[in-house]
C-alpha cells in the first residue's frame, strides 16, 4: 500500500473515531444531567442555599440563586434545561463551585468608584488577588498534586508489574508464579480505605515512620521536597499495591499467549538462547496489548484517587470531589464526572490509535 493511501485511511479512521467520541460524550452528559434532574422537590441550587434564602432579607441571595438556576437550566423543563446546560458547557462555562475558591495567581488593579487607580501612601498601585470559583479553574489547580502522585505510582507500578508478570509466565506454576497470582488477587480484593487505614495504623501511628496526614509538616526540618516525598510514601504505596495486580495478571496472560505461539517455537528451534527468546522475541510482542492499558491510565493520572486522597488528607482533586459530594456541591461533581468521562474517551481513542501504530497487523477498518 502506498504511503499516501495509508495516511488518508488513518485520517478517515481518526475522524470516524472522533465523531464516535463526541457521540459518547453526548450520552454521558445526558446521564449526568438526568441524574441531577430526576430528583423531586427542590433542585440542588435551592437545596444548597435554602437556609440562606430563609434568613436573607435583602433579596441578594435569591437573585444569586436565580442566576445559578439559569446556568444549569433548572428553570425550564428537563429537555430544554439540558440544552441550556449543554450549551453552556460547550461554550466553556461549566459553572461555579459552591464550596471551593482558589486564587488564580493573577492580580487585579484596585480602582475606586470613578475608575481612578487606588494608590497607597507611597504612590504604588494597590492590587488584590483574583479568586475564582470556576469549576474548571479548580479542577486545574487541584489536579496538579494528584497528577504527581499518580505519575509516580504509575511508573512504579509498571516497573514492578511487568518484570514480575513476565517471570511468572516464563516459570509458570512455579513458586514465583503462585505467589504473584495470590498477591495480585490480594491487591484486587483489598478495599483502598481498609488498606490505607491499616498502613496508617502500622507505619504512622505504631512505628511512627511516616507522617499521619497532609502533604507538608511545618515543624519538619527536612527540605520541602524531601518532606513532601516522605508524606507521599504511604498514599503511593496504597495506589501501587492496589493497581499492580491487574497489570501483573495482564502481562502474564499476554506473555503466556505469546510464548505458545509458533514463532517462539521457531526461535527456540533455531537454537537461540532462552534469554534471547524471551526478551527479544516474546517480550516485544507482549508490549502490544499493553498499549491498550493506556485507556485506563489516563483518567487515573489526572482524575485523582478519591478514597486514598481523603484518607491521607492530600488536597488533590479526589479529596475535593469527595468533599463536593458530601457537601452538596453538585456543580463541581457534575464537572468532575464529565471531566473523567472525557479523559476515558480520549484515553480509549489514543490507545486505539497507538494500537494501530504499534501493531502493523491491525487494519484500520470501521470503529469496532
Amino acid at each position: 500500500m502506498r504511503l499516501s493511501l495509508v495516511i488518508v485511511k488513518m485520517i478517515k479512521y481518526i475522524i470516524k473515531r472522533l465523531a464516535l467520541s463526541v457521540l459518547i460524550l453526548f450520552g454521558v452528559s445526558i446521564i449526568i444531567y438526568g441524574l441531577v434532574r430526576i430528583k423531586p422537590g427542590l433542585d440542588f441550587v435551592q437545596a444548597k442555599y435554602y437556609a440562606q434564602m430563609q434568613l436573607d432579607e435583602t433579596g441578594k441571595v435569591a437573585e444569586m440563586v436565580d442566576k445559578q438556576r439559569e446556568i444549569y437550566g433548572l428553570k425550564s423543563g428537563i429537555f430544554e434545561g439540558y440544552l441550556i446546560w449543554a450549551g453552556n458547557v460547550i461554550q466553556g462555562d461549566w459553572g461555579d463551585s459552591f464550596i471551593f475558591t482558589i486564587n488564580t495567581g493573577e492580580v487585579e488593579l484596585l480602582t475606586d468608584a470613578e475608575g481612578n487607580p487606588v494608590l497607597d501612601p507611597e504612590g504604588n498601585q494597590l492590587t488584590k488577588p483574583v479568586s475564582s470559583s470556576n469549576v474548571l479553574d479548580i479542577i486545574a489547580s487541584k489536579s496538579t498534586i494528584s497528577f504527581i502522585i499518580a505519575l509516580i505510582a504509575t511508573i512504579l507500578q509498571f516497573s514492578i508489574a511487568i518484570p514480575l508478570g513476565i517471570t511468572s509466565a516464563t516459570k509458570q506454576y512455579g513458586v514465583v508464579d503462585y505467589s504473584v497470582t495470590v498477591l495480585a488477587m490480594m491487591g484486587i480484593s483489598l478495599p483502598s480505605f481498609f488498606f490505607g487505614a491499616l498502613l496508617l495504623r502500622v507505619f504512622s501511628i505504631q512505628l511512627g515512620w511516616f507522617p499521619y496526614a497532609g502533604l507538608t509538616d511545618p515543624n519538619s526540618n527536612l527540605p520541602v521536597f524531601i518532606d513532601q516525598l516522605h508524606h507521599l510514601v504511604l498514599p503511593i504505596t496504597v495506589l501501587v499495591i492496589l493497581s499492580i495486580g491487574g497489570l501483573m495478571r495482564y502481562t502474564r496472560t499476554n506473555m503466556l499467549e505469546v510464548l505458545n505461539s509458533d514463532y517462539i517455537r521457531t526461535a527456540r528451534a533455531k537454537g537461540l538462547s532462552e534469554h534471547k527468546v524471551i526478551y527479544k522475541h516474546a517480550f516485544r510482542n507482549t508490549l502490544i496489548p499493553l498499549v491498550t492499558i493506556f485507556a485506563g491510565i489516563l483518567p487515573g493520572l489526572f482524575g485523582g484517587a478519591m478514597i486514598t486522597e481523603t484518607i491521607f488528607s492530600i488536597d488533590g482533586i479526589g479529596k475535593a470531589a469527595y468533599a463536593a459530594v458530601t457537601r452538596g456541591d453538585i456543580p463541581f461533581v457534575m464537572a468532575y464526572n464529565l471531566f473523567l468521562s472525557m479523559l476515558t474517551v480520549i484515553g480509549t481513542l489514543l490507545s486505539d490509535l497507538m494500537y494501530a501504530v504499534v501493531d502493523p497487523r491491525v487494519k484500520l477498518v470501521g470503529g469496532r
Binding site: 464516535l20 454521558v28 430528583k39 422537590g41 487505614a197 478519591m306 459530594v325 464526572n337
Partner: protein, 364 residues
C-alpha cells in the same frame, strides 16, 4: 470440545491395554463417557484455589445467615458498657425590672442551668467473653454487626449481579443476534456506560438519593438499583461478543433450517452456550460489587446508620473518634476489613476456577 476428547483418551488408554488381554470386552462398554457438566465440575473441584474460595464462601454464608440466630445480641441493640450522664446547659438572661428599693429601672442578669434527665452514654469496650470482638462507640456488639453486615453485602451482591445478568443478557443477545442498526444503537449506549467514571458517578447518584427522602430501611433497594444501572454494560458487551461468534456456527444454520422462532433460537440455542462465560463474569463481578457497596458505605452514602455494613464499620476510623479507634480499638474495624477481603477473594478464586474449568484453553 477438544478437551472432552482428551479426557476420553485418558480413560480409554488403560482399557485398551486391558482389551489386549481380554478381547471379549468391547471398547464402547469399557469407555466411561463423562458429560461436559461433570467434566467441568471435576476440573473445578481439582483446583485448590477454587476449593479454598468455595469453603471460605460457605463459611461466610453460615456466619452471616446462621450467626445472627445464635448471637444473643441484636443488630441495633446497645449492649456495651455505659455510664449515666446528665448534661448541663448554662443560660443567662438579662431582664429589665424595677428595683424595689430605689424605684428605678435597672438591668438584672439571671444565671441558671438547664439540667437534663440522666441518659446513657455507651463506651467502646475491648474484646471480652460476652463480646468476643468488643463493642463499638454506640455500644453495639461488633461480632453481631459483622454478621448483619455480611448479610447485607452478600444479599446485595447476588441481587445486583442477577439483575445485571438479566439486563446484560437481554441487550447483549438482541444486539449480537440482530446486528445492524439495533446493534449500533445498543452498543453505543454500552459505550456511554463504559465511559462513565465508576466510583464518582455512583457517589453522585447515591448522594442524590439523600434528597429524595428515602427511608433508611428502603435505601438499600435504591442502592441496588444504582449499582445495577451502572453495571450491566460489561455483561451486555460480553454476551454480544459471544453471540456474534455463535450466530455463525453450523448448528445455528440447522436451527434456522428447522424453522424455529427467533426467541426460541436465542433462548434455547444461543443463551445456554453463552452461560459459562456469563457465570464466570458474574462470579468475578460479585467481588467488585461488594467492593463498591462497602466503599459507598464507608463514605457514608451506602447502607445507612444504624444498620450494619462492613464499610460503615471501617468508616469509624475517620469519624469524630477516628484517631482513637484507629489507634486503640482495632477490634472495631480490622475484622470488617478482613471480611471484605475474604469475601472478594473467595469470589475471585471461584471465578478463576470456573473459568479454567469451563475452558482449560483459556487458562491464565
Amino acid at each position: 470440545m477438544s478437551t472432552l476428547v482428551n479426557e476420553l483418551d485418558k480413560n480409554i488408554l488403560p482399557d485398551q491395554e486391558n482389551n489386549n488381554e481380554k478381547p471379549e470386552v468391547s471398547l464402547a462398554d469399557s469407555a466411561k463417557v463423562i458429560s461436559p457438566g461433570r467434566l467441568v465440575l471435576r476440573r473445578f473441584f481439582r483446583s485448590k484455589l477454587s476449593m479454598v474460595g468455595l469453603i471460605t464462601l460457605a463459611l461466610m454464608f453460615a456466619f452471616s445467615f446462621l450467626g445472627p440466630v445464635i448471637s444473643p445480641w441484636g443488630e441495633v441493640q446497645p449492649t456495651g458498657d455505659f455510664k449515666w450522664v446528665t448534661s448541663i446547659l448554662p443560660h443567662q438572661i438579662k431582664v429589665t425590672e424595677i428595683n424595689e428599693d430605689t424605684g428605678l429601672e435597672e438591668v438584672v442578669t439571671y444565671y441558671f442551668s438547664e439540667v437534663s434527665d440522666p441518659y446513657k452514654v455507651y463506651t467502646k469496650t475491648p474484646p471480652s467473653w460476652t463480646h468476643p470482638l468488643g463493642t463499638d462507640q454506640y455500644g453495639y456488639d461488633v461480632l453481631t454487626r459483622l454478621m448483619y453486615g455480611g448479610r447485607v453485602s452478600l444479599t446485595l451482591g447476588f441481587i445486583v449481579i442477577f439483575s445485571e445478568v438479566i439486563i446484560g443478557m437481554f441487550f447483549g443477545s438482541i444486539s449480537g443476534y440482530f446486528g445492524g442498526a439495533t446493534d449500533q444503537i445498543i452498543m453505543r449506549v454500552v459505550d456511554v456506560f463504559n465511559c462513565l467514571p465508576g466510583l464518582p458517578i455512583l457517589m453522585l447518584a447515591a448522594a442524590l438519593i439523600d434528597g429524595w427522602g428515602v427511608p433508611a430501611r428502603l435505601r438499600i433497594y435504591y442502592l441496588m438499583g444504582i449499582l445495577t444501572f451502572f453495571g450491566w454494560s460489561g455483561i451486555a458487551r460480553l454476551v454480544r461478543g459471544q453471540v456474534l461468534g455463535i450466530r455463525e456456527l453450523e448448528y445455528m444454520t440447522a436451527a434456522e433450517a428447522t424453522g424455529l422462532t427467533t426467541s426460541r433460537k436465542i433462548f434455547k440455542h444461543i443463551i445456554p452456550n453463552v452461560m459459562p462465560q456469563i457465570i464466570v463474569q458474574a462470579t468475578l463481578g460479585l467481588g467488585g460489587i461488594i467492593l463498591s457497596e462497602s466503599t459507598l458505605s464507608y463514605l457514608g452514602i451506602g447502607v445507612p446508620f444504624p444498620y450494619a455494613a462492613w464499610g460503615t464499620m471501617i468508616s469509624s476510623t475517620s469519624g469524630a473518634e477516628g484517631r482513637d479507634i484507629l489507634q486503640n480499638y482495632p477490634n472495631i474495624w480490622v475484622p470488617a476489613g478482613i471480611c471484605i477481603v475474604l469475601a472478594v477473594l473467595a469470589f475471585n478464586f471461584i471465578g478463576d476456577g470456573l473459568r479454567d474449568a469451563f475452558d482449560p484453553r483459556m487458562r491464565r
